[in-house]
Every structure is written in C-alpha cells, then in structure tokens.
C-alpha cells in the first residue's frame, strides 16, 4: 500500500483544502457584496453592491466546492431579493442599531437556481440546484475548515492503516487476531464522499435535493461507522445508525409528500425558466408571501388539497397539512441529529475511527438536522416549533444525564454532542434562529476539537476507558490544554457581560431566548429551567472527563508510560480549532466589545435569517407564542439569563472539581447513594432495551410470521390443493372402485364392527352407571318430547 495509500490522503486533503480556500473566497465575495454587518456599510452605494456586483464569482466557486461533479449549465444568477437601497438600508440599520423587529420587512439576500433536472414530468420537477444565502456561506466555511483540519489530523491518526493492520479487537475462530491490509485510501475515499454529500445538503436548492444528499451522508456515515468492517460491533452500529436514520427519513418522506402533493414543488426559492424568471414560487414564498409581509399563512395549494380531500374546513385542514409537512421534515432532522427518541444510534456510532466521530458525528452531519431545521425555518408553524423545542429540551436533559455516568471518553463526548444538539433544536424551537445557528457553528468548532483531543489521547494510550487514564497532562500538554479550551468553550465559560469563549455567546443567546419564550408562554417556562440545569450538568461531566483524563495520578502505569504527545500533523489542527473555539463568536468591534450581537458571525447569520421569522407570531392550534428573537437581547432578559447560565455552569464546574480534582467527595460513595438512578443512567435510560423489546423483536417476529404464513398457510393450501387434485384425478377410477363398489361392503362390515367395539365401551358392567344411563336417557327423551317433537 504505502505510497499510493498516502497519495489518497493527500488528494482528499488537498481537495478539501481547496474547498476551504474557495469557500473562503466565496465568503469574501459575499462580504464584499453584502457586508458582514450591515452597520458597517452605512453608505447606500455599498449596499447597492448587492445588485451591481454580479455574484458569479462566489457562485461558481461555491459550486466548485461541490468538487464540481455536477455540470453547471451556466446558471443565471440573480439575487432574488429586490435589494434596492431602501431595503438594504433598513436592513443595515436594523442590525447595526440592534433595534427590535426592524428588519421584519427586509428581504434577505439569496441566490438560487437549478442546475440539473433529475426527473422532470410535466409540471413536476425534481432538480439539483442551489440556494445560497449567508447561512450557506457560513456553513460552507465552517464545514470545509473543520473538514480540512480533520483531514490533516486523520493523516496522522490513520497512519496505521498504511501498512497491514492487526486488529486486536477482532479474534478469529483460530484464536488469532485479525490481520488485514490497511484501508487508508478507503478511509479518505469515504471522507471525501462524505464532505461532498454534506456540502450538497448545505447548498441544496430544494428539499428533495436535501433529501438525496441526506441519504448520501447517511450512507457515508454508514461506511465510516462500519469502517472496521471486521468488528461485529462496528457493523451493527453502522446498521443501527442507518436504520434509525431511516426511521427519521420516513417522517421526512411523509413531509415531502405533504409538500409535494399540495404545493407541487420542492424548491426553496422557486423554479425558474430559461430566462431566469420564477415560474413557480418556492416553498418559502408560498408559505410566507412577500406581499403579506412574510407572515406565515397556509399556502393556497394546501387549502386546495384539503378541499380535494373533502375537508369540511379547508383552512384548518390545510394548516394541518402544513403542520404535518413541518413535523415530517423535522422527523428527518430528529433522526439525523439524533434527537430523542431517535438518539440511540449516535453513541454507538463512536465505533468509527475518531476523526470520523469528530467530523461526522459531532461537527457536521449530525448538525445537518439542525441546519435543515434552520433552513426550513419559515415553513414551521408555531405548533411545530413548540414540538421542536420540547424534543430539544428532552434531548438536552436526557443526554446530559447519561453523560454523567459514561466512562468511555468518546461516549461522554457523544452524549455531550446529543445534549448540545438538543440545545440547538431547543433554541430553534423557542424562536431563537440565530441562537441555534450560532450554537451550531460554535459547537462544531469546540466539539470537533474535543473529539480530536480525545482521539489524540486514545492514540496515545490505546484505550477509550477514562478509568484507565489519569495524569496525562504531563505527558501530552498540548492535547490537555487544547482540550481544556474545548471544555471551557462547551460550558460557555466567560466573564458575564464582558467577554467569553465561543460557547459563552451561543449558550447565553439560547438561554436568553428560552427565558424570553418562557416569559411569553408561562406554561412552557419549565423548559428554561431544564436548559439551565442542563448547563450545570454539562459543566460537570465535561470537567469530570477532563479531570479523569488529565489530572491526578495515573491509574494504569503501563498505559501512562507508553503515552506520548501526538505528532505535529495531529496537534496542529487542534491548535487551529482551539483558536476558533475561543474567538469565533467574539465581537470584532472594539467599541461594541461587550455586545454579543456585534460579533461578525452573528451579523452574518442575521443576514441569513429567514424572512419573516424575526417577529412575534403565535400558533393557531396550540396556544403558543413565538417571541421575536431580538426581544431576548433586552438587557433585563439577557442579563438574567447570562447570570443564571454563569451560575449553573460554575456550580457544575465546582462540583466536578470537588469530586475529581480536590477529591473532597468520593464519587464511589455518591454512586452507591444513588444506586438506582446510577443504574438507570448507566443503562442509558434503558432505551436500547426498550426499543429492542417494542420495535425490533416485534418486527422480526412479524417478519417470521409473514414468512411462516407463506410457508404454513399459503403454500400449505396450495400444496394440499395440488395433492388433492392429483389424488382426485390420478386415482379417480381406482378410488371409485375401491371406495364405492368394493369398499362399501367392507366399509359397512368394518363400521359395524367398529360400532360394536365402540358400544362395548359403554357396557362397563357397572350397575350404577347403568342407572345413570337410564336417567340420562329418560331426561333426554323427556327433553326431546318437550322441545323436539312438540313444535
């Protein structure tokens, strides 16, 4: 293998690096055209750029990052937005001055068109296209940057695969360990395919294309989780991941059907004809028409569909269809983002190599669900958003509690990922679009950092079990301190109201919005407290992890002795990511330094905010009011939420210090004190067992029933029909002779004899039984005479 395998790594890394460079260029173009923060471009000429500068450059580059596999038929790129001066100005002013609701009527900038028609049947088209707005640009940069880091890292981490590998986790039937060829090249092949698919989701111009790439990232994830195909646990985890994702996809398909059946298009922005005119309004336009000031309304198509269905109240049923569509799409996101109740696959997915965990199962793919919720945000009714919030809330709490007891370092991180994804969903659900997206970005950085640090540790000590580590800080300082940065970022460490790590900004925004939501919907106020409590738990388990791994005395001297700092190709990416984990969300503006909203990232995201989602709006079916996100920037709310977040995180951190650093509290005692809860958490709330009982076994049982029904019932019937027929036809003559002619006499004789024998049994010779017979006979005759004869 050797050189050629290494070549695969170079090619893949080079490609993704190129992708990053192009994304960066695209971002620069974007900023050039539309500005980072509108507030810094106060002159109208600059904002006029949006129209004047033909954005082909950014366009083609963005498409190139798709590794240019799709033939772009020279798309005519035009901003949909009528970005005339007035709009742009109010847009700018709105963000810069951070005034509430000012941007509600502005139209966000988005470029979209179709490249390629996959299936075109008359009016109905399934296409491959693009939809580019600020969110897309930011996501592109984030994904390619992290992917580049991880590719570099993987070149170091996977070097064993360059030569023949002995897999110590697989024991053959002859007792030896498996010896196989290295699969370095295949790893990078899958990684590249994954990056392609992931970018495809981000750039997708319609929900069907999203679905296509959705499935593709699913299959890449399947390959990567099951990378060690010889390990039974790995292939099982891969199957589990794919199948659980498919469960979510069913919901997504249902959502697609609901959209397709009534609206007849999947396109986000709209379908264009050759001249670039929109011939069919996109989903967003249909749900939030520009003329209506982007207010959510039931699209015409759904009401029509409801009428066709014979609904008594088409408006109501149409709205229901919209809810179904939203919920369906969200189902897909639940599967992909491993939200409750489809979260079971993600921890198992840690069977894959650690770079995979870092890239696929923490930073990007699982975030695709959150991204889709963000992308599809205009379509969600408040009812759906409420459900999203509830699901997110459950997930963040549940996963956090499980993470407390896990001992596998990657699993702790996996559950922490779940929990953080829950935060994102929760943020989106309570109306915090920017908060959720911001957390998506920041989380991607610090979580991939954490995973890569854990990979570095695993690489050094060859175990995943934290109880076998300890004191590694001295052996591998870079890893330890970058990981510390990651931990601080994830718990949202920072000085309240002044400055903090990236997580500080995103988490504060989420909690502020949650508090804001709770203030508007008293019934759901509890979710804020759950989220705040989750922050404490997060701090606790993250530092439990860090202390157990890096602090104290080595628990296994042997492993400690062999530990070493990772090579440069591995720690360099750590440093890069650590840098971003600290600074990515920080305000760049010195004047506004303490204002979180002044961060360029936040400003960029604000640009990508879906039209019409920044205002208060309330539900039709459920009594819920989605508060305007800007309301959460209110000093009172924001300060309260920030202090609560700080306090909870600090308490969790202190508890972790007490238990694992200062050793004031013995964890074992705590464990035994809460033995039932501990068992409950250790067994992951018994979800696997539960699903096994209520889904897998019945399904297999039903499958066996179906197969058995085929053999036992249908085939049996057929076979016997055939036997009967054959018997009937072939032996018909003989049968007649034997049965009717010869047989009759024999039959009578035999039957007489039989009857005699049978009657003999009645003659027991017992006097008393005879008496009983007489009695029975008498009664029977009487009854016969009474009821039988006298009719």
């Amino acid at each position: 293998m050797g050189a050629s395998g290494r070549g695969a790594g170079y090619v893949a890394t080079g490609a993704i690096l190129g992708g990053f460079v192009l994304s960066l260029a695209a971002m620069i173009c974007w900023i050039d055209a539309h500005g980072v923060t509108a507030g810094h471009h106060s002159d109208a000429a600059d904002s006029g750029h949006a129209v004047l500068v033909p954005p082909e450059a950014s366009e083609t580059e963005a498409s190139k990052t798709l590794e240019t596999r799709l033939v772009s038929s020279a798309p005519i790129v035009r901003p949909v937005a009528a970005a005339d001066g007035e709009h742009a100005e109010s847009h700018d002013g709105g963000h810069g001055a951070h005034s509430q609701g000012a941007h509600t009527t502005t139209t966000k900038v988005a470029y979209f068109d179709d490249w390629y028609t996959l299936v075109g049947l008359g009016n109905l088209k399934i296409t491959i296209g693009y939809y580019i707005d600020a969110l897309t640009v930011v996501m592109f940069c984030m994904i390619t940057l992290i992917a580049t880091c991880i590719h570099f890292y993987a070149m170091g981490y996977m070097h064993e695969e360059l030569e023949d590998v002995t897999d110590h986790e697989v024991t053959l039937s002859n007792g030896e360990h498996l010896h196989r060829k290295g699969r370095y090249y295949r790893f990078f092949q899958y990684m590249s395919l994954f990056c392609f698919s992931m970018l495809g989701i981000v750039i997708a111009g319609n929900i069907a294309m999203t679905f296509i790439f959705w499935e593709l990232v699913g299959i890449c994830s399947y390959f990567l989780i099951g990378f060690y195909i010889e390990r039974k646990s790995a292939s099982t985890a891969a199957n589990k991941a794919f199948i659980v994702n498919r469960v979510g996809d069913v919901g997504m398909i249902i959502g697609l059907m609901a959209l397709w059946g009534s609206l007849g298009t999947f396109s986000f922005g709209g379908e264009k004809n050759g001249a670039g005119e929109i011939v069919k309004p996109g989903l967003f336009e249909q749900v939030r028409p520009e003329e209506e000031g982007y207010q959510l309304q039931t699209p015409e198509g759904m009401e029509k569909r409801a009428k066709v269905m014979g609904a008594e109240d088409p408006a109501y049923t149409g709205h229901l269809l919209l809810v179904v569509a939203g919920l369906g799409i969200f189902c897909g996101c639940v599967g992909k983002s491993a939200q409750f109740p489809l979260h079971v696959w993600l921890p198992d997915a840690m069977e894959g190599p650690t770079p995979v965990s870092a890239l696929v199962h923490s930073a990007t793919m699982v975030a695709a669900g959150v991204f889709l919720v963000g992308r599809f945000y205009p379509m969600f009714t408040p009812e759906v958003l409420l459900i999203i919030a509830i699901i997110g809330c459950i997930t963040l709490f549940m996963a956090a509690t499980i993470a407390i007891t896990a001992t596998d370092i990657k699993r702790v991180l996996a559950y922490s990922t779940l929990s953080q994804l829950g935060y994102m969903m929760f943020a989106l659900g309570v109306g915090g679009w920017v908060a959720g997206m911001l957390h998506l970005i920041t989380h991607a950085f610090f979580k991939s950092l954490l995973f890569m640090c854990s990979g570095s540790v695993i690489h050094a000590v060859h175990t995943n079990e934290m109880p076998q580590m300890g004191g590694l800080r001295r052996k591998m300082p870079i890893t330890a301190y970058t990981m510390l940065i990651g931990c601080l970022a994830i718990i949202g460490a920072g000085v309240p109201t002044i400055v903090g790590l990236s997580g500080y900004y995103s988490k504060d925004a989420i909690l502020a919005q949650a508090l804001h939501f709770g203030k508007n919907n008293a019934a759901w106020n509890v979710m804020f407290y759950v989220a705040a409590g989750g922050a404490a738990i997060t701090a606790f388990y993250m530092f439990r992890l860090w202390f157990m791994t890096f602090v104290g005395s080595p628990r296994e001297q042997h492993r400690y002795d062999h530990a070493h700092e990772s090579p440069r190709v591995m720690w360099m990416p750590l440093a890069v990511l650590a840098f971003f984990a600290i600074f990515i969300a920080m305000p760049a503006d010195i004047e506004n330094f303490t204002n979180p909203a002044a961060s360029p990232l936040v400003q960029m995201l604000e640009q990508g905010r879906p039209d019409g989602t920044g205002v208060d709006f309330s539900g039709q079916l459920a009594a819920v009011m989605m508060p305007n996100e800007h309301g959460s920037h209110d000093e009172e709310i924001h300060l309260t939420a920030g202090m609560i977040a700080f306090g909870t995180a600090l308490s969790g951190l202190l508890l972790a210090c007490c238990m694992y650093w200062w050793r004031l509290i013995n964890p074992a005692e705590v464990r035994s004190m809460f033995a039932p809860i501990y068992r409950f958490l250790l067994n992951k709330w018994w979800f696997d067992e539960l699903y096994d009982k209520i889904f897998i076994r019945p399904t297999l049982w039903f499958g066996r029933c179906a197969a058995g029904f085929d053999r036992g019932c249908i085939d049996w019937l057929i076979d016997h029909l055939a036997v009967v027929t054959r018997w009937f036809t072939s032996g018909f003559d003989r049968w007649i002779d034997q049965t009717f002619v010869d047989g009759l006499a024999n039959w009578i004789a035999r039957k007489t004899y039989r009857v005699g024998l049978w009657l003999r049994k009645v003659q027991t010779g017992r006097l008393r039984q005879y008496v009983v017979f007489i009695l029975v006979g008498t009664v029977a005759m009487y009854l016969l005479a009474t009821f039988g004869l006298t009719k």
């Binding site: 008393r768 009983v772 009695l775 029975v776 008498t778 009664v779 009487y782 009854l783």
Partner: protein, 204 residues
C-alpha cells in the same frame, strides 16, 4: 282470619318428613342408618296415604312395606354388615354426576307437578261448577273406608269408580309364589362355588 286447616298442616308435616328422610337415605353413608331412615320415610309415606284418603293402601304400606319388605332388607343388612361395607364411600365425581342428573330430573318434574296439579281453566265447561277446581280439596275431608271396595275389586267385581282385577290378582299371587321359591333357591348356601369365587375375588 281463617282457622288453620289441620289437614293441610298434617300433610305438610308428613310431606316434609318424607322428603327429609328420603334425602337422609341418600346422604347417609352408613347402611344401617340408611335402613332406619328408609323405614321412617316409608312410614311417613303411609301417613300421606291416609291423608289422601287411601286408608287401605296406607295400612298395607305399613304392614307389607315397613313390616315385611324392610325386615327383609334389614336382615340383608345385618347379614352383610361387615365393617368395610357398612359405609362404602362414593367418589366425588359420582356425586356430582348424580346431583346433576337428579337435579335436572327434579327441575323437569316439579314444573310438571305444578302443571298437572293446577285446575283446568274455567273456560273448560265441564268443570266450571266445581268449587276450587282440582287443586282445592274440601277443607274437611270425609273419610270413606275403602277396604271393602278394594276387596271387591280384587275379587273381580267392578264398581262405579274402579274395574275388576281378578286376573291381575291371581297373576300376582302366582308371581309371589314363584318369587319366594326363587329367592329361597338363590339364597341357599353353595359352599363349593363360594370358595372358588372367593379366590377369584381375593385375587382381584
């Protein structure tokens, strides 16, 4: 308030006693007690016969049944009353079966008793002049001796409410004779076969 009808009271007494003893026969396990209850049951039946105006039959019941047949039976009891046979237990299943069938029969018979005992309807013209119909007897029964008329009947002289029974009477007489001879023959001791069959029974 009417006065108590003593005829009814006596009937109820005797009827209840009869039923009670009959059931006692069924439910007692000991053969000697069964015999005693049977005597009492038959005796009270005789009382019922008297109350129904059948004085001769009642007397014969007492003389022949209670005095004759029962003595024969008790004789048999005493002859065979070795301890294992005094109380032979019946299996529970048999009880259940018997109770089931007996109950069914009773359920059938009792409605019949009510049906038959009830007077024909008034629309039945032949009976409309009678007071109370079939069920209601006169409150004070008039006892008419029946022995003479029965004797006449047996001698073949038909009366206004009975036929002649000379032939039947003769047949019965012959029958009794034959029975007595047969009984004597059957019951005589047969030493030889006893030993042989005793072996068989011992073996089984």
């Amino acid at each position: 308030m009417e006065s108590i009808n003593w005829h009814t009271l006596l009937f109820l007494l005797f009827g209840a006693l009869t039923c009670f003893f009959a059931l006692a026969v069924v439910f007692s396990a000991n053969i000697v007690r069964m015999a005693s209850y049977l005597i009492l049951a038959l005796a009270t039946t005789a009382g019922l016969h008297f109350l129904a105006g059948a004085d001769f039959v009642g007397a014969m019941q007492l003389v022949l049944y209670v005095g004759g047949t029962l003595v024969v039976l008790i004789f048999g009891v005493m002859l065979t009353a070795r301890s294992p046979f005094v109380s032979l237990r019946t299996a529970g299943g048999d009880w259940v079966l018997a109770a089931l069938i007996g109950g069914t029969l009773l359920v059938i018979l009792l409605p019949v008793a009510f049906q038959i005992g009830l007077p024909p309807t008034d629309t039945d013209g032949t009976f409309s002049d009678e007071t109370g119909g079939g069920r209601i007897a006169s409150s004070v029964p008039v006892t008419v001796p029946t022995a003479t008329r029965i004797g006449l009947g047996f001698l073949g002289v038909p009366g206004d409410d009975f036929s002649g029974y000379l032939l039947a009477f003769e047949i019965i007489s012959i029958h009794l004779l034959v029975v007595l001879v047969g009984a004597a023959y059957l019951a005589r001791a047969k030493r030889r076969t006893t030993v042989k069959n005793g072996d068989v029974s011992g073996g089984s």
